[in-house]
């Protein structure tokens, strides 16, 4: 196949196709999850009068109580991994949206400019993602308990998540053949988009369902549903 035609295909129709699969896949999977949830039975809801009311506590006592809560939470037990996870997930979600090169592509297509970060900052964030990714891979190899449940699929998923960022970084830094890097960048990005609804990547959506829709000890907001598999 003519390289120019192939490049135009992956940069044009394949982008729309992967975006369509990504969005429709998420809607489809979200509907599937919703069907597995039913309004929680009345008997399972804790009556408000039985909930511990901290209003009687002084400001100092409330502060200490919250401090103990944080100390016993996952943040208090594993602060490093929580901090790195947070940075990794925030960067992985926002970086592609505000990379200057993506903004230029959008402007060329839609005719309006979109806010974007400076190339230097985008470079920094991409580097941060790669460092976090390296940390996760090292953690999987070194720490006994993580190694005990790690499979080849975990490395594959981590590799797939990092590939668009690594190739984008290398293409921007002009390392290696630019055309090859940018082709790999586009292809890996599209593959990741397509896989999100149908693989372990879907935890990005599942998390919000399990935290905001399902009643449990760790739920956020005011959920009213429970799993009915």
């Amino acid at each position: 196949m003519n390289p120019a035609i192939f490049y135009n295909f992956i940069e044009g129709p394949l982008v729309w196709l992967s975006l369509a699969v990504f969005l429709s896949g998420i809607v489809f999977q979200a509907l599937r999850l919703s069907k597995m949830m039913q309004p929680s039975l009345n008997g399972r809801k804790i009556p408000e009068k039985e909930l511990p009311v901290p209003n009687t506590l002084t400001k100092k006592e409330r502060f200490i109580r919250n401090l103990f809560f944080l100390k016993n939470s996952i943040l208090g037990i594993n602060p490093l991994i929580v901090f790195i996870s947070l940075i990794f997930h925030l960067c992985i979600l926002t970086t592609p949206l505000f990379v200057p090169a993506h903004a230029v592509l959008l402007e060329n297509f839609f005719g309006f400019s979109q806010i974007s970060w400076s190339p230097r900052f985008a470079h920094f964030l991409t580097g941060l993602i790669l460092v976090c990714g390296f940390f996760f891979i090292t953690r999987r190899i070194i720490i006994r308990r993580v190694r005990a449940i790690t499979t080849a699929y975990d490395y594959l998923m981590l590799g797939l998540a990092l590939a668009p960022f690594l190739t984008g970084y290398l293409a921007h830094a002009n390392v290696g053949d630019y055309r090859l890097m940018i082709t790999l960048h586009i292809l890996s990005g599209e593959l990741m988009l397509i896989l999100i609804p149908f693989s372990k990547f879907f935890h990005m959506i599942f998390f919000f369902f399990s935290r905001f829709a399902i009643v449990n000890e760790y739920s956020l907001g005011a959920p009213k549903r429970s799993w009915q598999f």
């Binding site: 597995m36 996952i74 037990i77 594993n78 991994i81 996870s85 720490i143 006994r144 308990r145 993580v146 190694r147 005990a148 449940i149 790690t150 499979t151 975990d154 693989s199 372990k200 879907f202 935890h203 599942f206 998390f207 369902f209 399990s210 935290r211 399902i214 449990n216 760790y218 799993w227 598999f229």
Partner: protein
């Protein structure tokens, strides 16, 4: 005279239980990021000097999870290993915490149900 014949696992019975709960098992297996952050929430893990076999995710991945991947086909020895995991390494106190919200205790309870269907129960005195 002692009967040394090993019981043969009732695979169709295991498959029936697995199929009846396939949505829950699939969600658990797909969403588990293998992050191991559930470990410290298990008091048995903490009291066994960080032995991974007591980690909540390890227990469900290597019991119901392993059985699901094998489509319910397991040898008696493999079922006995699973029995040890779900009965001895877990007390179903439901205190385990999954950052992604997977209901690990219910999956371990499912493992126990499968074991019971195969006449495998907790052995209180292993030396007997």
């Amino acid at each position: 005279m002692e009967n040394n014949t090993q019981p043969i696992p009732d695979t169709p019975a295991i498959q029936t239980i697995l199929n009846a709960n396939q949505k829950q098992i699939k969600i658990g297996l797909t969403m588990c990021a293998h992050c191991s952050l559930c470990a410290e929430s298990c008091f048995l893990y903490m009291s066994h000097e960080g032995d991974p076999r007591y980690m909540p995710s390890y227990k469900f991945l290597n019991s119901v999870g392993a059985l699901w991947r094998k489509k319910g086909r397991a040898s008696q020895a493999q079922l006995e290993v699973m029995r040890d995991l779900v009965f001895d390494n877990c007390v179903l106190c439901t205190r385990c915490y999954c950052p992604l919200g997977i209901d690990i205790p219910s999956l371990i309870a499912l493992g126990r149900r499968i074991c019971r269907s195969q006449n495998l129960f907790r052995t209180y005195d292993k030396s007997a």
